[in-house]
Amino acid sequence: VSEKIKVMLIDDEVLILECLRIFLEDEGFEVFAFTNAEDALIKISSLTPSTCITDMGLEGLDGNEFIVRAHPESRNTRFMIHTGAFFELTEELRALGMTPEDIIIKPVMDFEVFTDRIRAHAAGGCVNNVT
């Protein structure tokens, strides 16, 4: 049995966090769910998820700052943004190799958009800026 692909989820909205976790677990991923970015930042270096899906408007440490700080901790992790409001990539995030492809606007009709990308990244292996 091959090792499960590890996915980290951050969303302060428990409803969203839970249904996405259930979906991804059903899809066979190993999911680590967090309701705040601070905890996730502490754990990311040890968990080294393949993909990290984070909300933007978080209490405390926000999504943008989290990605900037988390990226050096886990260089192979692909970061995706799952946000409720329109969001444009900041310069810092572009510098990390993120593209508009990595932004998913809520509500998502079909969670397949996540699974496809997570699998593609895991198959590609290492780098963040695979388009």
């Binding site: 909205e13 409803l15 969203i16 249904c19 996405l20 259930i22 979906f23 059903d26 408007g57 409720g84 409001a85 329109f86 444009e88 606007i105 809520k106 509500p107 998502v108 009709m109 079909d110 969670f111």
Partner: protein, 631 residues
């Protein structure tokens, strides 16, 4: 002018010279006549005394020859006497009055003389006669007479006169010349300078002054004249600068009132036009000169009622009056603000009428209100989107989770079903029979409709400029026509493919800087509107959309005109309002055009306008600042 002065000069010179010469001539004439008369009387006196001497002497010398009766000697003596100056005849009578001797100069004078005792036949005035008796002791021997003429005296006097006249002539000539030259030097040259200066000054050469060289009367006159000229030229300069100032002020006033777009008319109490500006001329369709003095209500019949009302109010209250009027000319409605300002000076009782076309202002006000609405909706949408999206996402995604956990496809489902002692296939049959998958689909569809509205509303707030690119409008339009042609809804509901698209693209229209998806949204919504409008026209008119691209000032402009059913004016006003839709509820969000409006006006500082004739056509005009323009 030189002619005048030279005439003047010659005139004064000749006058003075003539006067002096006449004066001198009179003195000389008087003197000459006086000296002539004196000379004449002296000459006569001299001749007379000479005659007395001569006859006395001759009578003495003749006495002895007469005694002796020596005729020869007497003749000799008489002959000698005849040689004397002026003596014309020598006559000698004996004591018995017998003519003894007659010696005459001129034969005409022979026999004309009688003895002094008798009267002479000759006019004695012409001659001077002297007589003397010749005696020997007491005895009378005879009578002697010598006749003298005046000729030699007259000749001498004639000579004298000739000399005097010649002398007088030279004297007069010399005096005349000297006077003329002297006066010219001393007086006339300087007078001429005064004269010339005055003439030049009068001709406008205000800096001209008299050169003063001597301190005599003419010098004082010149100085006084110069002072006067200084004062006059000062006054003239002051007047000129005042005049210039007045002219400049007039120009400024004209510029001020003409530079204003407002119609400005000054009227008197009889409402007659006193002054008006260019805008007023245009509105009155009359030149200012023609308008002057005419009644304002006749010149502006369209405003006559309003003006009369306002002027009545002015009479009662005496203060500023204004009213807004709407005037419709040739089906074009214009709004005007008519204001009357009474002039403060009581004496004139004038008033300024100001008329402004506030159509554009009213339109802008409407646009501003519209923009405010948009901003409000945008803010509301952004807040709402955030709040709604999370629960909506949970709802939709959990629906998906339910569907997935009911399906037989997932391995985990089967394991749990077995543990629970149920068969997933029979569960599926049950669910199908109860219509559960249909309900779930309905939940998802309803949810996705909400999601669509929310995402559309979010466009209101998108003001970011990244993602903008330089685009040629013609390319953009071709893309959107293709997009519309391939759109399912457009094909199915509106027969988009049957619509004829006419392109009128100007040869050069500057590109614009836009986010393509936004302009796509705008143009797509307008095309959709057009297609919808034409699909519901009942007439058998061939549906057609005219797309025009043109340049207008710093704007690149797109016109999209359809020949559909058009809109009434009241609808035209509302179409850009959020949630206003002419379609059935559920068919359209009512946001398409309002977002288009927000995108064009807020994001690009452009303009989007609609013009429509109900039952005939609708034209949307979108203006976006061209690249390179400073707007």
């Amino acid at each position: 002018m030189n002619q005048t002065t030279s005439q003047l000069k010659s005139s004064i010179t000749s006058k003075i010279t003539l006067l002096l010469v006449i004066c001198l001539f009179s003195i000389i004439s008087f003197g000459t006549v006086f000296s002539y008369l004196v000379q004449k009387s002296e000459l006569f006196d001299e001749r007379n005394s000479h005659a007395e001497d001569a006859i006395t002497r001759l009578a003495f010398t003749m006495s002895s020859p007469l005694w002796n009766f020596d005729l020869e000697q007497l003749d000799k003596l008489a002959q000698a006497e005849m040689k004397g100056e002026g003596s014309l005849a020598v006559l000698l009578w004996t004591a018995d009055d017998r003519l003894l001797l007659e010696k005459v100069q001129d034969k005409q004078l022979v026999g004309k003389w009688t003895s002094p005792a008798k009267s002479n036949t000759i006019d004695r005035r012409e001659f001077h006669l002297v007589t003397s008796e010749i005696r020997r002791g007491q005895q009378l021997l005879g009578t002697l007479m010598i006749v003298y003429g005046d000729n030699h005296i007259n000749a001498a006097l004639g000579n004298l006169l000739k000399h005097e006249v010649i002398k007088a002539f030279f004297l007069l000539a010399t005096t005349g010349v000297v006077l003329y030259l002297g006066l010219s030097r001393i007086l006339l040259k300087r007078l001429n300078e005064v004269c010339l200066t005055a003439v030049e000054f009068a001709n406008g050469k205000l800096s001209r002054r008299i050169k003063v060289s001597e301190n005599d009367e003419l010098g004082i006159l010149s100085n006084t004249y110069n002072q006067m000229a200084d004062r006059i030229s000062d006054k003239i300069n002051q007047l000129e600068s005042a005049y210039d100032e007045v002219k400049q002020l007039q120009g400024v006033l004209d510029d001020i009132i003409n530079s204003m777009p407002s119609v400005i008319i000054v009227v008197n109490q009889q409402l007659e036009v006193l002054l008006c500006n260019n805008s007023a001329e245009k509105l009155m369709e009359a030149a200012a000169l023609n308008a002057r003095g005419k009644n304002i209500t006749l010149l502006l019949p369209q405003f006559s009622v309003t003006l009369l009302q306002l002027f009545n109010g002015l009479d009662k209250k005496g203060s500023y009056q204004s009213e807004k009027v709407t005037i419709r000319i040739n089906n074009v409605q214009s709004n005007y603000l008519v204001q009357i300002f009474p002039m403060s000076s009581e004496a004139y009782r004038q008033a300024v009428v100001r008329i402004d076309d506030i159509t554009e202002h009213a339109r802008l006000e409407e646009i501003m209100i519209q923009n405010e609405k948009m901003t409000m909706v945008g803010g509301l949408a952004a807040g709402m989107a955030h709040e709604i999206n999370n629960p909506l996402a949970a709802m939709l995604q959990n629906t998906q989770n339910i569907e997935r956990r009911l399906s037989a496809g997932l391995a985990a489902n089967r394991t749990v079903a077995e543990e629970s002692g149920i068969n997933l296939d029979s569960v599926a049959i049950y669910l199908d029979k109860r219509g559960i998958p249909g309900f779930l689909t309905q939940i998802r569809e309803a949810g996705s409709r909400i999601a669509k509205i929310i995402s559309t509303m979010l466009r209101f707030t998108n003001k970011t400029e990244s993602g903008r690119q330089t685009v040629e409008l013609s390319n953009l339009i071709e893309q959107i026509i293709e997009l519309a042609a391939n759109d399912y809804e457009m094909k199915k509901d509106y027969n988009f493919n049957k619509i004829t698209i006419i392109r009128e693209f100007d040869s050069y229209v500057p590109p614009v800087q836009v986010t393509v998806s936004e302009i796509e949204h705008v143009l797509f919504n307008i095309l959709k509107n057009a297609a919808q409008s034409m699909s519901s026209t009942k007439e058998d008119r061939h549906p057609q959309i005219l797309i025009r691209i043109r340049k207008e000032g710093g704007m690149s402009v797109i016109d999209i005109e359809d020949n559909g059913q058009g809109m009434r004016v009241d609808i035209q006003r509302k179409i850009f309002e959020p949630f206003y839709s002419t379609r059935e509820v559920g068919e359209g969000t009512g946001l398409g055009l309002s977002i288009a409006y927000a995108i064009i006006t807020n994001n690009y500082n452009g303009k989007i306008e609609v013009e429509s004739v109900a039952g005939k056509r609708t034209c949307f005009t979108i203006s976006i600042p061209s690249i390179g323009s400073n707007l």
